[in-house]
Symmetry: C2
Subunit: 144 residues, 2 copies
Amino acid sequence: MFSKACEYGIRALIFIAMKSSKDERVGNTAIAIAIDSPSAFTAKILQKLVKAKIIKSVKGPYGGFEISEEGLHQTKLTAIVKAIDGDAVYNRCGLGLSECSALKPCPLHDKFKAVRADLKTILDATTLKELASQLEDGTAFLKL
Amino acid sequence: MFSKACEYGIRALIFIAMKSSKDERVGNTAIAIAIDSPSAFTAKILQKLVKAKIIKSVKGPYGGFEISEEGLHQTKLTAIVKAIDGDAVYNRCGLGLSECSALKPCPLHDKFKAVRADLKTILDATTLKELASQLEDGTAFLKL
DNA sequence: TCCTTTATATGATAAAAGTCATTTTTTCTC
DNA sequence: GAGAAAAAATGACTTTTATCATATAAAGGA
């Protein structure tokens, strides 16, 4: 569904979000351990998210990554996926046809449109805050 | 959503299905041209589909690939995707967690479950016959 | 039987995605 | 300021996925 980079990215963000709601910054190494991801790769993804203004990074001692209170509530999954994977997930033809469109649809066009709209609706209705809360109250997990 | 192999595979099958409903066999080269795919790669995918008993191949002159009348009506997209991509699409955790389950869910587990169930329902309700018909009556296209 | 046609099998190559290692820059603390 | 901590940047490497090329096997027709 998503690229690996995107999976790691979402996981990292959920973790950062949880920390940020306790006003704690968290470094790349700690993130990688917490979400069980290769740390160098994770760093690259985090940079993308910084550039997309989804998280903020602070250099130097006691530095790390953080999300503002505003960001916690306003950042939707759609934005995250778009920042990492682009909007191929939402637009790309399910059968890989470059010319596929409403006017000249592939045989699966309409069916896929429905699924995708569904997915987008869900991603757009989910904030980081919501996901982080699940982690905090133990209803969901990122790691065994 | 699907791998490229799977995209090509579905396209090829729709084309074969259309030909088979006119009782015509079609060869690898013709398929590759019709669906605009690399022919050698397509051949490999077709072999997988032969092994999965989704299509039948006939060697020699006037040979090629075909689908039985029964197959046209009974082959669902779920089976095709499963034959090529395995069942990762249906089972794999959306965040890539190997331990994700109903008991120990990732924060997106339930939301994804819904989308995926949706997708599966659609794929399971779609037969090759149906898709091929769209091609025949010009309501859908595989190529510009 | 031999030649042609077409599928099958296998191995090599290319491109993309993912991972690792190293260096540079920033900023805090002393 | 000097040193240490941490992010940012860069480039190389590995693995996976996709693609190409070649050789083999089967079947029909002359």
